[in-house]
Amino acid sequence: MSGDLSTADQGQETVGSDAPRLTVESISKSFRNVDALSDVSLSIETGEVVGLVGENGAGKSTLLKLLTGIHQPDSGRIVLDGEPIRIDGPRDAAHQGIAIVKQEQDVVPNLTGYENLYLDQIPDFARFGIVDSGRMRSKAEQVTEQLGIELDLSAPVSSYSFTERQMLEVSKAFSESIDTDHPIILLDEPTAGLDEDGRELLFDRINELRDRASFVFVSHELDEVLDVSDRIYVLKDGVLVDEVDASEADEPTLQRAMVGRETADEYYRTGRQRSLSQGSDVALRADGLSVADSLDDISFSVREGEIFGVVGVEGCGKSALGRALCGVDPPDAGVVQVHGEELRPESLSRMVEAGIGYVPKDRKAEGLLLYQPLTMNVTLPSIGTDRTSHSLGGLGSLLTLIDSEKERGMAAESVEQLDIRTPGLDSLVYQLSGGNQQKVVLAKWLQRQSDVLVMDNVTRGIDVAAKEEVYRVCRDLAEDGVSMVFIGDELPEVIGMSNRIGVMKKGHLVDVVDAPAQDKPTEEELIEMMI
């Protein structure tokens, strides 16, 4: 396969006139006998934006780690401006002109923007041990000004929005490599968690800065990669399987290359969307939910087996709605009806009793006990209920004892039902891939027999194939009569999956749009209502 690529390489000398700015020459890297990258070659021209796509575990992160010197390649070399280089870690990489904007934001919230920008260089701004804040600030302001990024650098970063923090990260990457002539900025999932505006702003900046820098853009969002990049490399299982011109590629081609098989045209399995007659029973009804500063008088209802999408720009209150519905952040006013039972959502445990399950936004920090076995995770919400307890007859009401056989049975059932790929029921969940982890989160609630799931970005941070699996699971569940509140940042996904879509804006539910399988609303229509 690499043979094909080298010919492709030669054909690709359209963008930059000089030799490539950076080339990676048949690089390989393995960890404990597992090949993370094998014989990968690629090049980045001056002023080019190169997309890098692949499923989780395809080797994208490893490649970035090699380029920033966190790991050293086992074989092959990295060549910068025709000279082979050795990279001794992120700082060294930055000095040589390769800086990275990471997926997680590395900011210290209680320090100001400019302090964060120069966090690792603060000693350089000190004279006789006293930091010259003024100089640091003005230098920082120069950087953001040059980049055309508007930030209040004197404010603490805790007051920044998510988007602003991300722009600060971009500025930081530039400031680190500012002494080099033409930096290469590696963007690792830079749009994760950004709303539409933030993305647009970021893409604007990238386009504007093309004459001053090259970019490597890594993302799961193929439409973005296609939008921003000139060329796109596709990695699969550590091997470079394709290189395409962005202008000639489309999402299905990329997906096929990434997954290595034909993905269904109907990514979201819209064909399986249930058509719900008005007569279906209402599973969940929210009535006048209000939370100070985030939600104002929200009312809607979700029928059995319905997927009710919720969209809106960042800060519109869609996550707050999920948390209020489930009693995680109890609302100040309003009631929720679950299967006709009217409740004030004052605690999650109360709502769980009624049949609600909550799939939080951040599965690693909020959804899973990462270092505990799969079984324990699956049964966690059910502990203390009959489903996990020994039947002790009359004693049962006094004493609930955990029946580990039952627990294993539940876990095995979920593994089967959701097709969770795991070496065993006792595997610690941090060892599973992102998609399988998310299935474990779903399994928690299914085993609790929750039939109203409130899901906040259920496919966040998982790869294409895993997303497809989650969509399939959602369709299966809907067929079984499970109702879902499908809160999402990705409009195509929410549009594809939902029966109806609630549009939120500044804490209000401004509209509920029908989204039947044959007549889906467009992104533009929704965006118009969101802003």
Partner: protein
């Protein structure tokens, strides 16, 4: 073709996971066994009196029981990634309560359960303040450490309270089963009970969940506060048992009689395999740590190492045990 790659991939994954079992995992799992074995062999060679029934039962086991109870007490908060620093003074005050009730109020054996109740009550107070007022547990219990030891001093005027009551004494020193002191039986009973609680009850399960990630437990519908308080209630109860048995064994009680137990118990808990980072280990493992400390103390006595040096050794043991057992995957920064 597609199926083969999936199979290959999952095989690869299994291999990776096997390889991910680090040396540290093995050290935590087997370390205490190996250490205990080495200590027993070493001291048996060094002292002819060590490996005898009378030494092992009468000295090692009997002297370790109080430490076992207190260490079991401390295990639950630590399993939840909290800590109970008040156990020393809890033992002191419950022992003093028992002794006063026997000597001044002639309550006899009944004084012992009352002391246990008192410990449970103090533990509940710790727990409520910690969970409801959201004050870090080390601070709450550091405060109650001082409050309780001060109260015990106040109740006794700082002196020891002796009493004469053969029945009470029998509870601890009698030999109901073979020639094993009753106190050892008590220790064993509570050990089994706590192990059972850790594995078979919702409370036990939630201790692991809370220690691993409280927010996840919370977002899974667990009534987190209730179980956080529970850990301190259990801790107080077991300290009450320890205080009562200690008072019964010595036919007296002094406010400071629990001193030294805190550090020893933390050493035992951590060495057993319950990391300060929470979520792993459990009371069943704590026994191992207690035996290591018990054998170490007994052996050093027999070999003639003076007690000041023993204290220095214990300090090193604690730091090394913590260093080896911390799960560094979970923490980046320690303060």
């Amino acid at each position: 073709m597609a199926e083969r790659t999936i199979l290959d991939r999952s095989r690869k994954r299994v291999a990776e996971i096997r390889a991910e079992r680090t040396l540290q995992d093995w050290v935590i799992d087997l370390g205490p066994f190996v250490l205990l074995f080495l200590l027993v062999v070493g001291f048996s060679i060094a002292s002819p009196n060590f490996f005898t029934v009378s030494n092992l039962v009468d000295n090692v086991l009997r002297n370790s029981t109080i430490l076992l109870l207190v260490s079991l007490a401390g295990t639950f908060p630590i399993l939840q990634q909290s800590i109970d620093l008040s156990i020393e003074s809890m033992v002191g005050i419950t022992g003093v309560i028992a002794a006063i009730l026997i000597s001044d109020y002639q309550l006899g054996v009944l004084a012992l359960p009352v002391a246990v109740l008192a410990g449970t009550f103090f533990g509940a107070l710790n727990g409520v303040v910690f969970a409801k007022l959201k004050i870090p547990s080390f601070l709450v219990t550091l405060g109650s450490l001082s409050i309780l030891s001060g109260s015990a001093l106040l109740m006794t005027g700082g002196t020891s309270i002796p009493y004469r009551d053969p029945t009470v004494r029998w509870v601890s020193t009698g030999e109901l089963v073979f020639s094993i002191p009753n106190i050892v039986i008590w220790g064993l009973l509570f050990y089994l009970l706590m192990t059972f609680i850790a594995f078979k009850t919702p409370f036990g399960r939630y201790c692991y969940a809370l220690g691993e990630n409280e927010e996840v437990a919370n977002l899974s519908g667990v009534q987190v506060d209730r179980y956080k308080i529970g850990a301190f209630v259990v801790s107080g109860l077991l300290c009450g048992v320890a205080g009562a048995l200690l008072a019964a064994r010595t036919s007296s009680a002094a406010p400071g009689m629990g001193s030294g137990l805190l550090l020893q118990s933390i050493a035992a808990i951590v060495m057993g395999g319950t990391a300060l980072t929470g979520g792993v280990g459990g009371p069943h493992r704590t026994l191992l740590g207690v035996l290591v400390i018990g054998v170490l103390a007994n052996g050093m006595n027999l070999v003639g190492i003076q007690s000041f040096v023993q204290e220095i050794v214990l300090g090193f043991v604690v730091i090394i045990a913590v260093a080896m057992s911390m799960d560094r995957r979970k923490i980046d920064i320690v303060k």
